[in-house]
């Protein structure tokens, strides 16, 4: 008779058929003397016998014949059969006997981790990450059930679909199950034997936090960060984080939520001494030597003893790994880069995908455009590398391109068809009143109040890329405006041409100044609203005092307790009623909105109070300069023939400036409403999440954003349970953290052609950083690097804002800034648009400028040439 249960240290590396990939790996470590927690493996043969007993083979033809819609119910049927069938008595006796041996060795109160270990896990390129179940805190009473659940996880719809697409026969895959004692760790963490972000092989990176390791690996906690050199294990870098949460070693009875707050005294205390960090690194290096490749080691420390929980090859070694396996060629879509500076979560991606425009794909959480799609449309002879550069530098000066005669007819046909489709949109948006999108706000309320509408329904109602309801166009209005508004570039181009032709003496920023003015621009009005709140706060000494004494997170509760703050609170709620849908990284559905937590708004009010500045002065100055420029143009045009009599040139210039302003304003405002729609969809998701949390199908807040939309639907329908998705969420959170630490590659599958070296003397200047001009003008001032406006919000008047990206939540900072320098973006990006409105120089697309420029350094921003020169003060390393 074949043996069904093995002690972990009886397993060897070659025993994948018995113990699955994970089990064989752990067994090999245990046999080599690595401190692996004790445990045993229920073999794949046991699973095969069990499947044989329930005649699983008889179910497989029906599964193979099932259409895409029928896979989930078929899987559910199989899982139900597994759940209601008892494990044969001799096998269950054997399992419980091995469990008793663990208890005898570790104490009566031990709990176990039960992990799936499929025999297909070692199949070439197949990766089953997160598809098979793992269970923690398993005790004697539910051990057998959890083992059956692991077997059943072979029949998750995702695992089945994945096997089908990989051509793996369902009947050939079996599941071993690893049962291991859970180490009740005081400290745990992950160690990489190569830097997983930079790829540096001479660094060993350790991340550690209090309690169990789950909170670190899935990104819920910012862990302590240690880097030691491979050579000599010398400490190179140590960063002690504010560790607010931990996963305790034991669950309290009746409490399903796993996260606990870390006691105050431990939050900022370092988790590892240097000796401990070196010891961890030593074990990780031994694992690397054993497996012959860089490893990602999960470990725990309990009572001073070190335990190795898992060791596997580092899956992501650097940003070049992003997009590996993608068949096509892609380039990052710059106009969208600033909206996705952090990778988006899987749920946001799915929902955006379902209404997403053609030719755009989310890879590694970032938006990329598909080169083949654009290559087919453009009538030029371009290589992929040239096209990648063209799309990447969209909005900048384009290189000369050769027209392709063969592609011209296709291009003209596409333009004609596009005109037939979009022409009506263009004509509809020619002259609309400023408030025409207010209907969208009412629509959002209707959608929000209708419980029958799912998040996908809401998405289609509020974010359709085409009109879906003939007589109720509000939902489509926003995208209609978004499609039509880029016409402002045409008007701006024409304006530039006529101004240069008729009044060549004007400065380079003439057309921007002529089109400046933020009247009717909702994000600028939002900034003014915050300024008005600051003025209101100034009226009462008690309210002003609260802002001075408290941090932004504490201000609201202090205001509520202060009777004199009633008027201010009334104004604050009125402000939130209009702008409460805004947030940092607001295209990400996971982002908390100002209405939910107004701390960022209160922080900005505090900023104005502390800065003692009046932003309207800046706006008035721009308005005065604009009027002076208009008078100058008029004076010079009057010298032209017939101009005094008819004023045709002036009228044309006024018309072009008015159109440019109108369409630029529409573009910026459409985003305001788009974000409003997203908040409505977020509320729908939060309602689903609350329901799933109450039914125990989710355990932690925000986990829902790490599920695919189909999985959420299956959780709602009861086809999936928490145990089925727990591991997937964990894997995806880990992946999200890794992606967030990386600068995404500019291109995937192709190397972009580099822009020719500039002849600008700035290019040779070591203190000059060359980016892309986004708003003209020159300015000298002190730099202030702000990474997160909700934390660091005190920008003094006239300082140069240096930021990784900006979105409308940053707009109030533009009111006090003298100039802006931003890591990402293009001429059309938020930073450029707002800087032009406020008439300040702005340079974008300066990678790592937040590291190269330090707060307090004197900088010169040349918005005409896109160059920032560091004049004095500390400079960052290049």
């Amino acid at each position: 008779m074949t043996r069904s249960v093995f002690r972990l240290d009886d397993i060897r590396c070659r025993d994948v058929d018995i113990a699955g990939g994970k089990g064989a790996n752990l067994g090999a470590l245990a046999a080599k003397g690595f401190p692996v927690p004790p445990g045993f493996v229920v073999s794949a043969h046991a699973c095969r016998s069990f499947f044989g007993a329930i005649d699983l083979a008889g179910q497989l033809p029906a599964l193979a014949a099932a259409g895409a819609d029928d896979v989930a119910p078929q899987c559910q049927r199989i899982r139900e059969i597994i759940a209601r069938t008892q494990i044969p008595s001799d096998l269950s006796r054997d399992i419980l006997c091995h469990h008793q041996a663990l208890v005898d060795g570790g104490g009566a109160d031990i709990v176990c981790a039960v992990r799936s270990s499929a025999t297909a896990e070692d199949l070439g390129d197949a990766s089953f990450a997160g598809q098979h179940a793992t269970y923690y805190y398993v005790a004697h009473g539910n051990l057998l059930e959890m083992i059956k659940n692991c077997w059943a996880s072979l029949w998750n719809p995702e695992a089945v679909s994945y096997r089908s697409t990989q051509g793996i026969d369902h009947g050939s895959v079996f599941m071993a199950v690893v049962v291991q004692e859970m180490i009740q760790s005081e400290v745990s963490g992950v160690t990489f034997t190569a830097n997983p972000v930079s790829g540096a092989r001479d660094e060993i990176v350790t991340e550690a936090s209090w309690g169990m390791g789950a909170a670190i690996v899935d990104g819920r906690v910012t862990p302590d960060h240690y880097i030691v050199s491979r050579d000599g294990l010398k400490l190179r870098k140590k960063r002690i984080a504010d560790k607010r949460f931990m996963v305790p070693a034991r669950l309290d009875k009746g409490i399903a939520t796993r996260l606990r707050e870390v006691p105050h005294g431990l939050r900022r205390r370092e988790t590892l001494s240097l000796e401990q960090a070196q010891r961890v690194a030593e074990w990780a290096l031994k694992a690397e030597t054993h497996f012959g490749a860089p490893q990602d080691v999960e470990w725990a420390m309990s009572g001073g003893a070190f335990f190795m929980l898992q060791s596997r090859p580092i899956t992501v070694m650097g940003r070049e790994q992003i997009g590996q396996g993608e068949a096509g060629r892609y380039v990052i879509f710059k106009p969208l880069v600033e909206n996705f500076t952090d990778p988006i979560t899987p749920l946001t991606r799915d929902l955006l995908d379902c209404v997403g425009p053609f030719g755009v794909k989310f890879i590694g959480g970032r938006a990329y455009v598909y080169l083949k799609f654009f290559k087919a449309l453009l009538p030029f002879e371009l290589s992929d590398a040239q096209l990648a550069r063209l799309l990447y530098e969209m909005g900048a000066k384009t290189p000369p391109m050769k027209l392709s005669v063969l592609k011209l007819p296709i291009f003209l046909a596409v333009v004609f068809l596009a005109y037939l489709v979009i022409g009506v949109f263009f004509a509809r948006t020619r002259r609309l009143p400023d408030d025409f999108m207010d209907g969208y706000r009412r629509l959002c309320r209707r959608v929000e109040e209708n419980p029958a509408l799912t998040p996908v329904d809401a998405m289609w109602r509020l974010w359709p890329w085409f009109w879906t309801r003939f007589f109720d166009p509000a939902g489509f209005m926003v995208i209609l405006v978004n499609l039509s508004a880029p016409r402002y570039m045409v008007f701006l181009g024409l304006l530039q041409k006529v101004l240069r032709g008729w009044v060549p003496e004007l400065g380079e920023d003439a057309e921007s100044l002529l089109c400046s003015g933020s009247e009717g621009v909702l994000s600028a009005e939002m900034g003014r609203g915050i300024w008005e709140l600051a003025k209101e706060a100034k009226k009462s000494r008690a309210v002003g005092g609260i802002f001075e004494r408290h941090k932004p997170e504490k201000i609201l509760s202090a205001l509520k307790a202060e009777p004199q703050a009633a008027r201010f609170l009334e104004r604050l709620y009125a402000f939130l009623d209009v702008n409460g849908h805004r947030a940092l990284k607001e295209l990400e559905l996971q982002s908390v909105r100002w209405e939910e937590n107004p701390a960022p708004v209160l922080g900005m009010v505090r900023n104005y109070l502390l800065a003692e500045t009046d932003p309207t002065e800046h706006e008035n100055r721009v308005a005065r300069n604009r009027e002076a420029l208009k008078a100058e143009i008029r004076r010079r045009l009057d010298e032209k023939p017939l101009e005094k009599r008819f004023g045709l040139r002036r009228r044309l210039i006024d018309y072009l400036a008015e159109r440019t302003r109108y369409f630029a304003k529409m573009r910026e405002n459409s985003r305001f409403y788009h974000v409003m729609g997203l908040y409505c969809i977020r509320k729908k998701i939060l309602a689903v999440e609350a329901d799933l949390l109450s039914r125990g199908r989710l355990r932690c807040k925000d986990d829902i954003f790490y599920l695919r939309y189909g999985e959420v639907a299956q959780l709602q329908a009861g086809w999936l349970e928490w145990r089925d998705v727990e591991d997937r969420i964990r894997e995806r959170r880990m992946e999200h953290v890794r992606y967030a630490k990386m600068v995404p590659p500019k291109t995937i599958g192709v190397t972009s052609e580099e822009a020719p070296q500039s002849e600008d003397p700035a290019a040779a200047d070591p203190d000059a950083l060359a980016g892309q001009p986004a708003s003209p003008g020159r300015y000298e001032g002190l730099a202030h690097v702000i990474l997160d406006p909700s934390i660091d919000i005190e920008l003094k008047p006239g300082e140069v804002l240096v930021a990784p990206y900006t979105d409308p939540a940053w707009t109030p900072l533009f009111l006090t800034a003298g100039a802006a320098v931003v890591e990402v973006g293009s001429y059309l990006s938020h930073a450029g648009t707002v800087a032009r409105e406020f008439g300040m120089p702005c340079v974008v697309d300066l990678p790592e400028c937040t590291q190269r420029i330090h707060t307090g350094a004197a900088v010169q921003v040349d918005g005409d040439r896109g160059v920032v020169r560091i004049m004095s003060g500390r400079k960052g390393a290049r």
């Binding site: 799915d350 929902l351 509809r428 002259r431 609309l432 209005m477």
Partner: protein, 102 residues
């Protein structure tokens, strides 16, 4: 030559129809303020009348032999516009099914 003129008239019919349909959309797009803002009401009416008048005048000026090309362009665009709307509905239905299945 006749074919060229007829093609041009067909395209002109389509182009004018684009403007005419957009003018009609004004009733829906500004529906929320037509009752309360006489200026908007007038503008919508003016747009519809303008593009109807331009289309009618072109039709009236054309020789009888050329009129079918112009009207054909007009009608083709109306059909195209409605067809796009219906086609979109089908695409949306398909995409919603795909989203839920993922």
């Amino acid at each position: 030559m006749t074919i060229c003129v007829q093609t041009a008239l067909f395209l002109a019919g389509m182009g004018l129809c684009v403007q005419w349909v957009a003018a009609l959309y004004g009733i829906i797009d500004r529906g929320y303020c037509l009752q309360t803002r006489p200026r908007q009401r007038k503008q919508v009416m003016a747009d519809i009348l303008l593009w109807s008048a331009v289309s009618g005048t072109v039709f009236w000026l054309l020789d009888e032999g050329y009129r079918p090309a112009f009207v054909g362009g007009y009608g083709t665009f109306v059909l195209f516009h409605i067809g796009t709307f219906l086609g979109t509905k089908l695409v949306i239905r398909w995409k919603m099914r795909v989203s839920t299945r993922r």
